[in-house]
């Protein structure tokens, strides 16, 4: 239930997509220039270059055409230099030079850098008509670029422009292309052109519409909508059907994305609540300082990272794996200290425990504030947690994925350790029948301390993970305490599975409410629904039943 951006999902994905596209184009371009620089030109374009020096627009046009068709490696940077008024010629020698975006000069004939250019250089002039031609030529050139990413980006550009002039180029490119992924992009671009072109035959259209339907995204819908009014009825019908099926798919995808975000939020809730499920759920201790344990875990991560930064900056990616055991240890120790120092005197007095641990939380917050200051601390994400990938149309960030995986691992490890370890056995024994357990020789106070330490340690582990997605500040814990209690109570106190289901349900419900209500209102609604739910089932989703419960 942490605050999330209230921007509609579609906008985000659109922004992300365009960002990704720009990045791809940028990397593609730099890559292609790099290869250009590395290779010696095996095509002679000097005849074409000579035309630039004639100061005639028609000569320049011919030069552009022949350079574009030459396949020379420097053709792309050369033409983009021309487009941006960075192409010069020496009136005396008729030699042509271009300047890169990095302010380096290249010899247009060889594509090699030149240290010194002649002083008197003339600019090659262009007009709007030429600009259009150069743009198209550049698009075509990118279709043959050595880097597949550049080729895909070029195909996307054509897909969006639907310029019929590119048809011949793309046809040629399709024949040459060996990479299946790239070729399918080419075919989609071609289909977009075919669909939007007036003079296409119904058969061509029908095939193209199928191709676009196969692509199945917002851009495909746009391309299908560009079907000219003059198109035949059958094609129109086909296009309408294709649009509808794409829209259905997209709606489904949006739901899937919501579920994903919900799971991600749910795992954050679960992380925050999992320690509480032990201290509150199993022991019945109301630990209001639970959030501060999470915060201590996050600050431990911060300190570990600072240590790495100072001592071994090259191994920064290792800071999280190292922080995990340390955070567990630190918070578990603090937890044991709190249990031994305060809570053990208050067993059976839950309201007093609540107040005392609230006091502890104030002290811990203020201690951290005094030591580190009230501002947010920078905890950076390791390389394996940054970035995103596409999974069946869903954009999945590695950060979220890791947190979900980590949370589930933690959950099952906890479940198994309660089930199969000796401490787990003793824990269950003590919670079920303290006096009997004591009579069997179990040192119940020690088990109490260990159990509370375990719960606190889990909170610390949560802190390590949450440091990746939340601000590491003294108030970090405060943001989670109410949510965590809600999760545990909603799931049914003393039931770990209940906590899992409850966290995921709340996470997903929150994310599905957000598009309608906005982030804050969604959270308020969830809180109100929870309050109402607790009235209905005071003991949560998965309540224990029987005489013993009442006692």
């Amino acid at each position: 239930m942490t605050a999330a951006p209230a921007i509609p999902r579609t906008t985000i994905s659109r922004i992300v997509k365009s960002l990704v596209l720009t990045m791809l184009l940028a990397t593609g371009l730099t890559l292609s220039t790099a290869t250009t620089r590395a290779q010696a030109p095996d095509v002679d374009i000097s005849a074409a270059l000579e035309r630039f020096s004639r100061e005639s627009l028609s000569q320049t046009r011919q030069a552009v055409t022949s350079i574009a068709e030459s396949g020379a490696p420097q053709a792309q940077p050369l033409l983009s230099a021309l487009l941006n008024n960075r192409l010069r010629f020496d009136p005396a020698t008729k030699k042509v030079y271009y300047r890169s975006t990095g302010d380096k000069w290249f010899d247009a004939a060889t594509g090699k850098t030149v240290a010194q250019v002649p002083e008197k250089l003339e600019r090659v002039r262009i007009n709007n008509r030429l600009r259009v031609q150069i743009n198209q030529a550049l698009g075509t050139l990118s279709l043959r670029a050595p880097d597949p990413k550049t080729r895909i980006a070029a195909a996307e550009t054509i897909f969006k422009s639907k310029s019929a002039d590119a048809l011949a180029n793309i046809d040629a490119a399709i024949k040459l292309e060996r990479d299946d992924a790239v070729r399918s992009k080419f075919e989609q671009a071609r289909a977009a052109i075919i669909v939007s072109r007036e003079q296409s035959t119904p058969d061509e259209r029908s095939k193209a519409i199928r191709t676009l339907g196969g692509r199945g995204d917002q851009a495909a819908i746009a391309a299908l909508r560009s079907l000219p009014a003059s198109a035949d009825a059958r094609s129109k019908e086909q296009a309408a059907t294709a649009i509808k099926s794409i829209e259905e798919r997209l709606a489904l995808l949006a739901h899937a994305q919501n579920v994903w975000y919900g799971l991600s939020l749910g795992s954050v809730l679960l992380l925050a609540a999992i320690g509480l499920a032990i201290t509150f759920g199993v022991m019945g201790v109301i630990n209001m300082a639970h959030g501060e344990m999470v915060m201590l875990g996050a600050y431990t991560t911060f300190l570990v990272q600072e240590g790495f930064r100072a001592l071994a900056p090259g191994m920064l990616d290792w800071s999280l794996p190292v922080a995990l055991p340390l955070a567990f240890l630190v918070t578990a120790l603090v937890g044991v200290a709190i249990e031994r120092g305060i809570i053990r005197f208050l067993y059976g007095r839950p309201l007093e425990t609540l107040l005392a641990t609230w006091g502890v939380s104030l002290i811990l917050q203020q201690a951290i504030r005094t030591m580190f200051g009230p501002t947010n601390q920078e905890v950076s994400a390791p390389s394996y947690m940054s970035g995103a990938f596409d999974f069946m149309g869903l954009s999945i960030t590695y950060g979220r994925l890791w947190i979900i995986v980590f949370t589930l691992l933690l959950f099952f490890a906890l479940l198994l350790s309660i089930r199969f370890t000796r401490l787990g056995l003793y824990m269950r024994a003590v919670t079920q029948n303290r006096r009997m357990a004591a009579a069997m020789g179990i040192r119940t106070p020690w088990i109490d301390a260990m159990t509370f330490g375990l719960g606190s340690g889990l909170a610390g582990l949560a802190g390590v993970a949450l440091s990746q997605i939340d601000n590491v500040s003294p108030n970090l814990g405060q943001n989670y305490i109410i949510d965590s209690f809600m999760v545990v109570v909603f799931g049914g106190v003393g039931n770990l599975w209940g906590t899992l289901v409850s966290a995921m349900t709340l996470g997903i419900a929150n994310k599905f409410l957000e598009p309608f209500a906005g982030a804050v209102l969604a959270k308020i609604l969830i809180l109100v629904l929870l309050i109402l739910f607790i009235q209905k089932r005071p003991r949560g989703l998965f309540a224990l039943r029987g005489r013993a419960v009442e006692a």
Partner: protein, 379 residues
């Protein structure tokens, strides 16, 4: 019957308390208004404002003690009732500004003009009239407490569960009032008040009157609470606190008992909040912060819960400390102290300051006896 009660049966702590607050109610405003500033007995205006604030806090504490100390309902959301009463007063004061606001709109408060609102939202209707506003100061917190309590007590949500959902309640309200769309001024809340019932809110005379009213409210809330806890009703409350199931098996509809006292307590808290706002000059969503409500609980605990007088005493003591610490170089230590207070009062002195006095005087009178006479909720 009430008059009979008023003139009878007051324990020592209660008489001392009533005397002190009564004297304060009269003497502090008079000294502020009549004595010259040079006089050593003059109460400066800022002290008066501070004490007025404390009086409102003390009223909140007494209201909280009524439900927690006597009925065992640890409400972590009483700050919400206080704040709602405060907002009702704030809305009245906003409507009194009229054309004197920055934008000079005769009807819309400044923040609505700023948000480009064209009309007054329906829930702001009537707040230009004081009697209606006064009603709302009591009715809104009362109604919320009634609905919330009706749901919670009927389904037997008790103990820490109740505490947690009261906390969630005030948290949800906090989030809601932060939203500009709610129509309560969002983040900034309501402020820049000009006058109340036609009197300039900054004037010394108005301040003195507000102070007097706060003291009278505290006395009234104390007397009503004391009356409630001294009847059989109060005995049932304590019975519910100690063994609710037993009370039910005796045939008491405990949820009705809890609901009534919870609602009354919320109304008292609302009035305290309403008098608080003109004295501090602002009401904003931070009043809903869960931390505020918990802090009020510690006032009660420090003073001694289940004593009413102790609650008021605790509110004064803790807030005096807070003022002392947070205004000086010791500000960084205040939260340590407050946190320590929470721990100390639960571990070492569960009966609060009044409990310490009680056991000390009991020891002096008859050594060996541990009967804390002043502490028992119902004699």
């Amino acid at each position: 019957m009430i008059t009979k009660y008023l003139i009878s049966r007051h324990d020592k702590a209660g008489i001392v308390f009533l005397t002190i607050v009564g004297l304060m109610a009269v003497l502090a405003p008079l000294s502020n208004l009549l004595l010259p500033e040079s006089s050593p007995l003059h109460v400066p205006t800022y002290v008066l404002a501070l004490l007025g604030k404390y009086l409102c806090y003390a009223t909140l504490a007494v209201a909280l003690d009524l439900v927690w100390g006597y009925c065992g309902i640890l409400s972590l959301g009483h700050g919400a009732f206080f704040a709602l009463g405060g907002y009702a007063m704030g809305m009245y004061l906003m409507r009194q500004i009229g054309t004197r606001g920055v934008y000079g709109n005769p009807v819309l408060p400044d923040f609505m003009v700023f948000l480009n609102w064209k009309e007054l939202p329906w829930f702001w209707y009537g707040f230009d009239m004081f009697p209606f506003s006064l009603l709302m100061m009591v009715a809104v917190p009362g109604l919320l407490a009634f609905v919330f309590g009706w749901l919670a007590f009927r389904s037997r949500v008790t103990g820490v569960y109740l505490s947690i959902i009261t906390q969630a309640l005030t948290y949800a309200l906090l989030l809601a009032f932060f939203r500009n769309d709610m129509g309560f001024g969002g983040n900034n809340g309501l402020t820049d008040f000009k006058d109340i019932l036609g009197f300039n809110i900054q004037a010394d005379g108005t301040r003195a009157t507000l102070f007097f009213l706060s003291a009278i409210l505290l006395i009234a809330v104390y007397l009503i609470s004391r009356w409630i806890v001294h009847t059989s009703y109060g005995k049932v409350l304590v019975a519910v606190r100690d063994a609710e199931a037993r009370a039910r098996f005796l045939g008491y509809r405990t949820e009705h008992y809890k609901l009534f006292v919870f609602t009354v307590s919320a109304m008292m808290a609302g009035l305290a909040g309403a008098l608080y706002v003109p004295q501090v000059g602002i009401i904003n969503p931070s009043e809903f912060a869960p931390a505020n409500s918990i802090e009020a609980v510690v006032w009660v605990a420090v003073g001694g819960r289940g004593t009413l007088v102790g609650a008021a005493l605790g509110a004064f003591a803790v807030n005096f400390m807070k003022t002392f610490f947070t205004t000086g170089a010791l500000a960084a230590y205040w939260l340590f102290l407050l946190g320590g207070l929470f721990i100390l009062v639960t571990l070492v002195m569960p009966k609060g300051i009044l409990g310490l006095f009680g056991s000390m005087s009991a020891k002096l009178r008859k050594p060996g006896s541990s009967q804390p006479a002043a502490l028992q909720p119902a004699e």
